[in-house]
Each structure stands twice: as C-alpha cells, then as structure tokens.
Symmetry: C2
Subunit: 263 residues, 2 copies
C-alpha cells in the first residue's frame, strides 16, 4: 500500500501557501522547504512551518515528493519555467489556470484547488473545505486524493472544465456578494449609519441557503414586483449612477428568474 | 415606573407576524388576539400563541395596549382604514413604509422594524436581531423601546429617513446576494455540479465581514484587474447575456471602488 506521508516543498508564501502549509504540517506531512521570491514572507512562513526557506530558484530542494505552487495565477508560468522535477509531482492551487501549464516541469502534475477564501492571519479549518483534485495520470491522482483527504473530508475529483465553471460561479456567489456588502456599507455610511446594523441579516441570508435553494429563499421588492418601492430606491440612488444601474439589472434578473421558475 | 408588560393584538399571520408573536409570547407579553383576513393562517398562529383569532375587522379586540401590523407593505393602508384605536399604540413592521400612514388609526403610532429575514417554520432567535424603533411622540417611543428590549438586545432608535436607507442597503447586501447565489447555482447545475461545493465559501465570505470591512476583504479577478480571467469568464457566459452584463457591471464597480480606496 502506498504511504500517505510525503515530503513537500511549498512554493509561495501568501495566504493560500500559509494556510495550506499549516494544514499539511498539522496532518504530519513533512514540509521540507518554502520557496518564494519574497524573502521576508518566505522566511516568516518557514518559521511557522519549522522548515528551510530559499528565495533562489537554484536552491529549491530537489528531494521532495510533491511541489505545491501556491502563487498568484499570473506568476505560475514564471515559476514553472524555473522547475525541472522529472517524475516528482507538481501541482498548482488555482481555480482558473490550466493544468497543462505544469507539463514542462514534470510528467506527473495536477491541480490541488482548495475552494475557500484565505487570510494569512485567521487560521483556516480545512476539515470542511472542498478540495478539487485533477491529475495528469492515475497514480498522481491517487496520491493527490490521499494527500487532500489527509487535511479535508470534502475532497472531489474535478476536471478542468468543471473547475473553470466552479471558479466562475464562485466569482458571482462570493466576490460579487462581498462587493454588494461594500455597496451597502457605502450607502449606510452616507447617512451616518454603519454596516453593523445589517450584519445579522447578511449572516442569516448566507445561512438560509445551507438547507434551502436560494431561488426559494428570494425575497425583496424585485421578487414581489413592488414597483413603488423599486422606484423610491432608484430615486434615492440618483447621485450614484453605477449603483442605480446595478439595482436595475439585478432587479430585472430576479424578476426574470422568478418568471422562469413559474413556467 | 411604567410596566413593560402589555396586551397585544397581532395583525397578520405571515412570517413576521409568526416569529414576532412567538418572541413576544416567550418574553411574557400577553397576546390577546391574531387578526388576519386569511382564516386558516390566523387560526394556526392563534393556536401557536394560545390566543383568540378573528378574520372580521369588526371583531378586532379593542382592549389591547398595542396593535402590531405585520402584513405585506401593500396591505398596510387597507388594514389601517379598518382601525379606530383612539389612544392605543399602533405600529407597523415594515422597512420601507412611511410611519405617517398610521396616523388615521391613532395619535400614538410608530414603527417596530425587525431587521431580519424570516421563515414561518424556522424559529428565529430575536436576541441579536436589530429592532428599529420610531414613534410619533415620546411616550410611545419609550413604550416601544422597552417592548423591543424585552425580546432583543439590539434595539435602535431609527428615524424614517434612516430606515429607508437601511432598507435600500439591505436590498443590496441581502436580496441581491441571495440572487447571486441563485445565479451561481444555475451556472453550476448547467455542468452537473451543485451549489453544495460553494457553500463553505459562501459562508466564509459572509463570516469574514463580521470583523473586517468588506472593501478590505475584496478578492477576485476584478479586484486584481486580471483581464485574462475576466475575458475567459465573459466568453463562458456568451449564451447568458444577462449574466454577462451583470458580470461586467459588477467587475467595473469593484474596480472603481478599489480606485477610490487607493486615492
């Protein structure tokens, strides 16, 4: 039987690298080294993980089994050019970058995409985070699935096509929602109110869809086609043309979805 | 000192009426009666609250201290016309309806607006829900603040102007966010994936802003002005013109906010 303990090099020292490194260390994986071109942050992360660090591509430890590239999407191709790993496994952690980009570094490559938003400082509990796995061949897939299962109970085999769709859906559900919180905050502070008053409602809105379909949970003036309220709201936004446009488009989209649902 | 125990009539038998009735009963207020034109639901709610019910406006109990109108916004004016309450306190529970609409029913009127989204079946914990109070005079205000404090530790004096702003902000932060969850779900199911895979991320996105400003927490392709990813996403949405429009407008708004922040 294959062992599920590996020697790992982490490339990158940002939020994903930090949280993933901590989770892997906790599950008794051996982190050999952190490599990042940013000396200060790789040094910090190496201290956290109690391992070596380097900021010189020539000094990347070549004795590891698995190389995890957790850098910004745009930087992945640059990093890949610096790697010659023969048969070692190399993965990136991105939702939107092609797996094939890794081909030049090794014949055993894959994707290890944790579907969560990370901050460097708040420790992440990986246990429930979906990890999306893809690999260039069956043996690599088996190793990556096992590695992922050592830190999460929600590991899924996801191909490139599906991963792109998940990433797009995440932009809508998470990046855009967060921006709506920013807009709400801007609207409130313009009248000396604070976002605090909305936080219980925001929390409950996200909670409600745990066990219900969001379409069933939709409420508000657009949902009940309450033109009077929508007109009032648009008037209140008359000096914020961008918010007005968004209000109209979102309201139209809600009404259209509702019509489709009824058909 | 004024007592904080009151005799209450609840008008309406929907989600707000149900949850508010249950919370008031739990805090030992006396619910005399439920009045709703829908006999079945008023009967059900009256059973839950162990009180009388009626669906005849002429039979509304006139011995209560406080009348709480918890019906749809559009129905409030119809209900008000049926009420002649002299000096009794009458309130509505709406975020967007003028307080003055209640004037014809009593000289003591106000707003009792619980800032939360309610379902009839999931019992709501009122303890942390902000309740926004406004009143036509000081004595009524005092009574309503005390009544609200009997069920929530987050009671706020909010005037009509502020209430309208809060409601508008809630439409952005909650109604529109929920619709983004629906869009994400539609995108995922088109590839045989389910919204379940995004739920931990949605939850964390809402959680993160408890202790951070959402503008500081913004991530994603628009935030880092990652044109390549945004173009890919727009192409993926080519048969969903409405989502494409939304994607463009939200991304532009994120970029604009980010620029303003940096200035």
């Amino acid at each position: 039987m294959k062992t599920n303990k590996h020697k790992i090099v982490i490339i990158g020292a940002g939020n994903v690298a930090t949280q993933l490194g901590l989770a892997l260390k906790k599950s008794k994986q051996t982190i050999l080294q952190v490599y990042s071109k940013h000396q200060a942050s790789s040094n910090n992360l190496a201290k956290l993980l109690k391992c070596e660090y380097t900021n010189a591509p020539g000094k990347i430890n070549i004795t590891a089994d698995i190389y995890i590239i957790a850098v910004n999407d745009d930087a992945i191709s640059t990093v890949v050019k610096q790697l010659k790993l023969n048969n070692k496994i190399v993965v990136h952690t991105s939702g939107s970058v092609e797996m094939e980009l890794l081909k030049s570094a090794s014949k055993n490559y894959g994707v290890f995409y944790p579907l969560q938003t990370f901050s460097k400082n708040n420790k992440t509990n990986f246990e429930t985070i979906p990890i999306c796995i893809e690999a260039s061949n069956k043996a690599t897939l088996t190793t990556l699935l096992l590695l992922a299962k050592s830190i999460s109970s929600n590991v899924q085999k996801i191909n490139s096509e599906q991963r792109k769709v998940i990433h797009l859906a995440a932009v809508f559900a998470c990046n855009f929602s967060n921006h709506l919180y920013t807009i709400a905050s801007t609207i409130l502070t313009s009248t000396n109110l604070s976002l605090n008053i909305l936080k219980p409602l925001i929390e409950e809105t996200a909670n409600k869809i745990k066990n219900n379909s969001p379409a069933e949970m939709q409420t508000g003036p657009a949902m009940r086609d309450d033109k009077k309220t929508m007109d009032k709201h648009l008037k209140m936004l008359s000096d914020k043309k961008e918010y007005q446009k968004l209000y109209k488009l979102m309201s139209k989209s809600i009404k259209d979805s509702n019509k489709e649902k009824k058909q």
